[in-house]
Symmetry: C2
């Protein structure tokens, strides 16, 4: 058996077309170009390359993009001051802070300085809290509007657009980062999946993974999840972006997994391309809220 | 086999003694009586009786207690105004809003009006978000200080004081309320348990429960969890407070479960008595932060 490939690149293109249409309507109606600002301190190579790729995607569609860089030696006050200035800048609708921040900087303080209304990558604890409190999809959310981190939002969007049933299914999320694993678990819970949150201390991880109807890898360890960890026919969502011999690979051993899974996201070309389009969707959501 | 009873009443007494000592030190040092305010609109009988029981527990130890009641006909603005007044009242250190609020009141708006620094039952989304983002226990939390809802905090305290190993264990939480199920799942995750979040849409719930080393009932359905849903020797934490023929019982069928489980909280006398002491601990934490 060979799994169906969940083609994130194709989906991202489809969503880009939707964004293009929405964007031109919005600009026509309001005369405002939705704009995101990225704040970075230092020159971490992965961050530099991620910012470039975001700039390309945003510019291609006509979403405004600003990069605000500070030196590696920037103090916390300087970074927070940059964030505060962007919070107050009416021409900026979304703000993303790139990690890692320089050593010694309190990341919680910097994230906490973000205006929750411009926090388009959903890193402010107020947005996390609203996601955690939100009622299941389909019911009134029971919380104020919030932003969902773009990467797990993209994973969920893949599941939705491929019409993969989630309600009552057993979903296993491996990894509990604030930016991917935990929000993905909360998103799947909102879709009425039964969710197992796994991590480095989980005992018998392969056995736990084998129970999954939906298996999400969000650990950042190259090809850790083997083919025989996967229940035949399961859906596999791979959030890993790892490099082995300068070749990109996911958290799942794709060669093995594709023979067992029912559906699987490849790396590259799976969840990766979805992140920037989900960010743009969040920027659009932000600007709509800000113009009222 | 008969399970060891996890005696919440006894533990609560023990913690009351600790609070008494801490409180008299605090008052001596600062000349301030830590004080909590409860806000209620309407006369829901369970809310009235809960407020009375809180008042008794608080007064017994010398923690200040105020009850602010509004009529069932109170508007949202009136309730929010009461909360705002208490936010600004330097003599009030913790605020709890009783649910249910009258029909038509937006609970999210009322909770959101709470000062997060006085939100001693951890219902504000900022506190939920910090809990969700917090690193595992034993590492720097990586978030600003936060309050944990008292009921799940009490459940965790029972597990801790009975020295029940959590790391790497499989914990199943049945129920996903904002005030018990979800925060309990997040707390167990912070203790490095592998956590399964179950709910009304979970398929094969008895089988899922049977995998649990730690099984938490937080659904509010009398005796739903049967003896044969429990793995022999498992630890059972029952958060349910239900009434059948005016007799209080939990979510777990205690008569059956006590023959199978290794350890179990009874209802009454398990998690219930822990709630008010954990609230008092949170009030003490709040006042300490407020006096700096």
């Amino acid at each position: 058996m060979t799994a169906t490939i969940l083609n994130g690149r194709e989906l991202a293109n489809e969503i880009q077309n939707e964004i293009r249409a929405e964007l031109s309507n919005f600009i026509e109606q309001h005369g405002i170009t939705p704009t995101a600002a990225v704040v970075r301190a230092g020159d971490d190579p992965a961050s530099v390359s991620y910012a470039r790729s975001l700039e390309r995607s945003f510019s291609k569609l006509g979403v405004g993009f600003q990069l605000h860089t500070l030196p590696e030696s920037a103090t916390q006050d300087e970074i927070v001051a940059t964030v505060a200035r962007l919070n107050g800048d009416l021409a900026v609708h979304g703000i993303m802070i790139q990690e890692p921040l320089p050593k010694g900087i309190d990341e919680a303080a910097v994230k906490g300085a973000l205006s929750p209304d411009k926090d388009v990558d959903g890193v402010h604890p107020l947005n996390t809290g609203r996601l955690a409190q939100a009622a299941p999809t389909g019911r009134p959310a029971g919380v104020e509007p919030f932003f969902i981190p773009a990467t797990p939002a993209g994973g969920l969007e893949i599941l939705r657009r491929y019409a993969i049933e989630l309600q009552g299914k057993l979903a296993v999320v491996v990894g509990r980062s604030t930016i991917v694993g935990k929000p993905m678990a909360l998103l799947l819970l909102r879709e009425n999946a039964t969710v197992i949150m796994c991590h480095s201390r989980t005992q018998g991880l392969p056995d736990v993974c084998r129970t999954a109807d939906i298996l999400c890898g969000a650990v950042g360890r190259a090809r850790m999840i083997k083919g025989d960890w996967i229940k035949p026919g399961a859906t596999v969502i791979d959030f890993g972006i790892n490099f082995v011999d300068s070749q990109m690979c996911g958290d799942v051993d794709f060669e093995q997994a594709v023979e067992v899974a029912g559906m699987i996201t490849p790396v590259p070309g799976g969840t990766g391309p979805m992140t920037s389009v989900m960010l743009m969707k969040n920027v659009l959501q932000a600007v709509r809220r800000q113009v009222g």
